[in-house]
């Protein structure tokens, strides 16, 4: 039994009553916001979050307290909650927005108070129709209850919160693309510098963009203290985190685990968690942090689930999603599907990503479907090298955003780990798994 000693962000997800205001209040809801606006200064909350070492849960893993401290002073600053969860195999925010929408609203309000935001926008992925309904209902209830609007809970703090639906584009999870989209434009990432959101963000004003899970931790941190939060985990990775486990395991799902307490092996095989693989199957590879991450092999399952721990073995914890592929999986097909995803979702602004992504997809397709040539492997590595010089990790960036540099991760690791399998496809003129 190696689950978190207690749950922080997912404690209400199995209680259908908690979706509504009464159920949320009955489980301690809005106590933290009350304490924040009535008893604590914004600085005190910022201190708590700094103490907590709350790393952003969206994928980049930047410390939330430090991000807040970089916010430029201005008459108007904005808070935008990133709920555009689209990193393949990541489904934690999907759960949080549908099953604990008030916790998200409360967390967003605490963050808005802490940074002195003039207005809060929750940008929710358009495909989350039920999530949009649940979060809007929560916002409506929170206004009625006095948790949003003028003089919140009788304090001198006033703010509005607006739910904004996305319209389907992976790139909008990138924070500057998200801001463009929120301004009514195509989701084209902005170049940094100068467009660091904390300096020039939404409508040109300083803006903080925080992930859904990140702010969902705030009510707990306000009630229990940042010190308490950082008691869990070690190093930079503190508190708990939702790990989204999918692929070839018996029990896929979201597991809230204490940071740096469990290994990939625990998560995949513990009967309380993944429950192992189908009888007779072996782990062939694991993708540890969304499809932008390089793959890990079966010999790396004892790596601890922590940000620096996974970085140390040349990959990343990213969005906390873990995909397990067993020995019945065709690695060429898996890598091709990921390449196809990136080729489709490139916004098209930068040449290495737009051209490189679609060429990699074409070459991968011809290997999988039987028209591959042996020199295609060098060609693929050359294409990867043109996007990420040296095919290094972490990748050297040749593009405006990190979508492009994420393209080589799967293809390059698949070739490095499973070269024989690629060659077999080429030799046999097709996929040996079909």
């Amino acid at each position: 039994m190696t689950l978190a000693p207690f749950k922080i962000v997912s404690k209400r997800v199995d209680d259908p009553e908690a979706v509504g205001l009464q159920g949320y209040l009955a489980t301690g809801g809005y106590q933290a916001l009350k304490r924040a606006v009535l008893d604590l200064t914004p600085e005190a909350i910022r201190d708590q979050v700094m103490q907590a070492s709350l790393l952003g849960r969206g994928g980049a893993g930047f410390e939330a307290g430090r991000k807040w401290s970089m916010l430029k002073k201005s008459d108007v600053r904005y808070l935008v909650i990133n709920g555009d969860e689209s990193e393949p195999a990541t489904f934690k925010d999907h759960m949080l927005v549908e099953r604990d929408p008030h916790q998200l609203v409360e967390g967003a309000l605490i963050a808005g108070y802490a940074i002195g935001a003039a207005r809060i926008f929750i940008f929710l992925r358009g495909e989350f129709a039920l999530g949009l309904e649940r979060v809007q209902a929560a916002i409506n209830e929170a206004y009625e209850y006095g948790a949003i609007g003028r003089n919140i809970f009788g304090s001198d703090f006033s703010i509005d919160l607006v739910l904004h639906p996305g319209a389907g584009a992976y790139i909008c999870g990138e924070e500057t693309a998200l801001l463009e989209s929120l301004e009514g434009k195509r989701g084209f990432p902005r170049i940094k510098p100068p467009y660091f959101p904390a300096v020039i963000g939404l409508y040109g004003q300083p803006t903080i963009v925080n992930n859904v899970e990140t702010v969902s931790n705030l009510p707990w941190i306000v009630m229990n203290g940042g010190g308490e939060f950082s008691e869990l985990g070690v190093g930079r990775s503190r508190g708990t985190r939702l790990f989204a486990l999918s692929g070839d395991v018996i029990r896929p799902g979201n597991y809230e685990l204490e940071m740096v307490k469990n290994t990939f092996r625990d998560l995949i095989f513990d009967p309380e968690m993944g429950g192992g693989l189908a009888p007779g199957r072996q782990v062939k590879a694991v993708i540890p942090g969304g499809v932008s991450a390089p793959w890990l092999g079966p010999d790396q399952l004892d790596v601890l689930l922590g940000q620096d721990e996974v970085a140390a073995v040349g990959s990343m914890l990213g969005s906390g999603s873990i995909i397990v592929m067993d020995d019945s999986t065709c690695m060429v097909r898996a890598a091709w599907r990921i390449a196809k995803f990136f080729a489709r979702e490139s916004c098209g602004q930068c040449t290495p990503c737009r051209e490189g992504g679609s060429w990699i997809e074409k070459v991968m397709r011809r290997i999988e479907t039987g028209s591959g040539r042996e020199e295609d492997l060098d060609l693929l590595m050359d294409l990867c090298d043109n996007i990420v010089p040296g095919v290094s990790w972490p990748p050297q960036q040749t593009t405006i955003c990190v979508l492009g540099p994420s393209i080589p991760s799967s293809v390059a690791t698949a070739i490095r780990m499973f070269r024989d399998e690629f060659l077999l496809h080429i030799k046999e003129g097709g996929c040996p798994y079909e």
């Binding site: 108007v76 495909e127 949009l132 703010i159 639906p165 584009a169 995909i323 995803f341």
Partner: protein, 215 residues
């Protein structure tokens, strides 16, 4: 129909009010237009451009970037089968093939009776229920060939009307409040010194007793 009905126009105007700049309402209004007409008509894009203060070409430019915004008619039910990595591992591609046969259309196509448009989707964040499907962005899964067929039958027969509204209706819960604190007021407060800091300082001074210097 194509321009907003009076009711929808009222809703559109209320949405615009939520943003400091009207243009931000572009995508929400495109969703509203799809709720009314099932897809984005030329007339709707023209009206949205008038409402948010940009050109019709800019509305089209924005809309054409996004997978969920359709500038051609689609079926009453948009059936999206996910084939991204987590679903691929669980048979998503085979399910899509089955869906093509069952509905008699390739991805992107619409059945002759106008009931179904089939799409191959990228990850829809339902990976623990793989292979996953969305119908008008409502989740289903895990599905096999048989359960896919019964889903289609239920949709056809109207048995799922309460769960799956016709294409375009993204959220059936509407905002019940406007903006309570206009930005102008917040800017005014900030400019005359940080309101929160000032009020706290004043409250503190008051709490510390009458001995302080009153200006």
């Amino acid at each position: 129909m194509a321009r907003f009905t009076p009711d929808m126009e009222t809703r559109a105007l209320a949405v615009i009010e939520l943003y400091p700049e009207r243009r931000s309402a572009t995508i929400p209004l495109c969703h509203l237009a799809q709720e009314q007409d099932g897809y984005l008509t030329r007339e709707a894009m023209e009206q949205i451009s008038e409402l948010v203060g940009i050109t019709p070409a800019e509305v089209l430019g924005t809309a054409s970037f996004y997978d969920m915004l359709h500038t051609e008619p689609v079926g009453k039910y948009l059936v999206g089968v996910c084939t991204n990595i987590a679903c691929l591992l669980k048979g998503g591609e085979e399910l899509l093939e089955h869906a093509e046969q069952a509905l008699g259309v390739a991805p992107g196509g619409t059945t002759d009776d106008g009931m179904f448009t089939l799409e191959e989707m990228e990850c829809i964040a339902h990976c623990d229920k793989a292979p996953a499907v969305q119908v008008n962005y409502r989740f289903f899964g895990p599905l096999g060939d048989e359960s896919f067929d019964s889903l289609v039958e239920e949709l056809r027969g109207g048995a799922l009307d309460a769960v799956v509204p016709p294409h375009g209706t993204l959220s059936r819960v509407h905002r019940t409040s406007g903006i309570a604190v206009p930005l102008a007021e917040i800017i005014e407060a900030r400019r005359s010194g940080d309101l929160l800091e000032a009020e706290r300082a004043r409250a503190k001074a008051e709490a510390e007793g009458a001995g302080g210097n009153q200006l």
